[in-house]
Symmetry: C3
Subunit: 269 residues, 3 copies
Amino acid sequence: GQQLNQYPVPTYPPPESDDEELWLWTQIKAEARRDAESEPALASYLYSTVLSHPSLARSLAFHLANKLCSSTLLSTLLYDLFLHSLSSSPTLRSAVVADLLAAHQRDPACISFSHCLLNYKGFLAVQAHRVTHLLWSQDRRPLALALQSRISDVFAVDIHPAARIGKGILLDHATGVVIGETAVVGNNVSILHHVTLGGTGKVGGDRHPKIGDGVLIGAGATILGNIQIGEGAKIGAGSVVLIDVPPRTTAVGNPARLIGGKEKPAMHE
Amino acid sequence: GQQLNQYPVPTYPPPESDDEELWLWTQIKAEARRDAESEPALASYLYSTVLSHPSLARSLAFHLANKLCSSTLLSTLLYDLFLHSLSSSPTLRSAVVADLLAAHQRDPACISFSHCLLNYKGFLAVQAHRVTHLLWSQDRRPLALALQSRISDVFAVDIHPAARIGKGILLDHATGVVIGETAVVGNNVSILHHVTLGGTGKVGGDRHPKIGDGVLIGAGATILGNIQIGEGAKIGAGSVVLIDVPPRTTAVGNPARLIGGKEKPAMHE
Amino acid sequence: GQQLNQYPVPTYPPPESDDEELWLWTQIKAEARRDAESEPALASYLYSTVLSHPSLARSLAFHLANKLCSSTLLSTLLYDLFLHSLSSSPTLRSAVVADLLAAHQRDPACISFSHCLLNYKGFLAVQAHRVTHLLWSQDRRPLALALQSRISDVFAVDIHPAARIGKGILLDHATGVVIGETAVVGNNVSILHHVTLGGTGKVGGDRHPKIGDGVLIGAGATILGNIQIGEGAKIGAGSVVLIDVPPRTTAVGNPARLIGGKEKPAMHE
């Protein structure tokens, strides 16, 4: 958001401190207030999604419930579910904060935190996934799977509830992302649209990729099998990756070959 | 659903027998009853989508109508349409059964029949497509096309009503699948997400691929033109296929080349 | 729509004349009237979306508002916004006309103008994008971004409001199309589904492709960076294009190489 950022960011608290979530929520409310003033057509929308809520967790729970509800899966049920999950898990809340910061820092088109919170379906899909993952770990599988299905209908992002996803995640554009059951995604990973972390179809069990910290995966890349993508690696757009990729290495092509250094990352947005 | 299957499957009636649909419906109701008991938050959802219905056809018609309705295309109209189509066509009903069995057998992440019936947008898109195909064959083209459009909006699956699709079909993840007007898909075919069965843009008329029985098409594969993919062939993820593929042969790459035997199928989920 | 066109097209007024929009609207109403008579199940739908409206602009504004509204972004707000934008901009209205003609001429599966108007999510997404672009140029960025987000949720088409798009555009199937902030698309361009006009992630500022007039971009092609695709060029399905493509040249493969003449366009639908 460098060149287009309309909202200069004041002094920032130390990462992971108790004040970080509160600081971000204060920013988001200030952004929403300015937008509501400059655009009366959005005032009611911004009031109901942001300004009427006492916390980031409540705003997010309300927004997700409204996006994901249906005539048979009611928004009240989803709101209670999201709010309870966020309220009871500091880990979930700190991941929300880390993901908002990641979008703001890494996506040049992200002009404000509230833009990400309200408008990025990749951000919303990942937060909802984290709730399905919590449900899965509590052995509430039917509810986790019903929610996964709604996320796929509404955001075209299909992440199995059992998949483990770190924090500081940017799912840019997000349409068509598929992440399988035994996939693991580290921290500070950026994933463009149409990316698949899938299986090869030859085995059951642990069959999906393991993505290291700080990896960047270009649009349309397909990564298949229980392989390791080392930390800081870059996967070129449109690659089909069937082999391990060492740390800080770039893989491009179909099938992907490794190229040293940082050549042709072919990435972002 | 081997390793995660929570619902052991009792003795199974002979395939294609009259009892098969009833057996499956009994399974689905038992699954839904257990899930409703273990997860009260889902009880009302499961009652309205499964347990309140006297047959698989009615449950499916209700669920599809709710998913595909809009403020201008009412759920009552769609429910009547789906129910009438399913009730009057044993072929449609047997394809529903075959597709549910296919997902359960071929997708390791499919833990129950009710999971597929309620949550797999690929399954739901294919059942709705079959109704558009029936309408098309009855020369009710405007309704068929309006429904195709809703299926593409809601499930991100775009299948032309004139395309002919066999049974035992698994559309896994399903986002972004596009199947053109003169395409033909055989029985027991598995198609991953982002797969295109398209034209080359150079001709009108019969211009789309013909897919044999038992073919497996990996994520993101693009198959173009009036070409034949022989039975049991495997198309690698991310391939761009512009030539015939003989039976039991694997095609990989962009443009795809043929490789013998079963090397690197690069497939599933 | 040659081989399937049910509606023979009467004498056509000179392109860009004042009568063109009126002529097209007369066609669309005649098609809708015939469809409503032949298919009573659609009569109420066709009345509310087409036949009850006094102009193409009102019909389109109503249809878009219904498709894009949510519980927090009301259809009345969107209807006013779309109608006001279309009413006050002859450029927007002439682009609507050019896009309807383009779909009818270039897509063999497009059997009528009303089919495109009502059912093509690519057409609808582009018209809605043009309104976000107008808002962006008026410095109403929060509203433009909220609308971009709804378009991406509903149609799985993500076009940044700042992107500049010509007229006579066909977005065929459309699922998964992503067009970045500084991209420019000329007139009479055809873009298949899953196409990305993206950045390379290495720079901010002017970082997206410039697409010349009459270009054809195949399904799943990924075009990255501030590069030029010359007029009349063809980009093969599944290509990853990182270099300039001269006019009337074809690019295929990953990474794409140039091939002379018109070999293997590997394109449409």
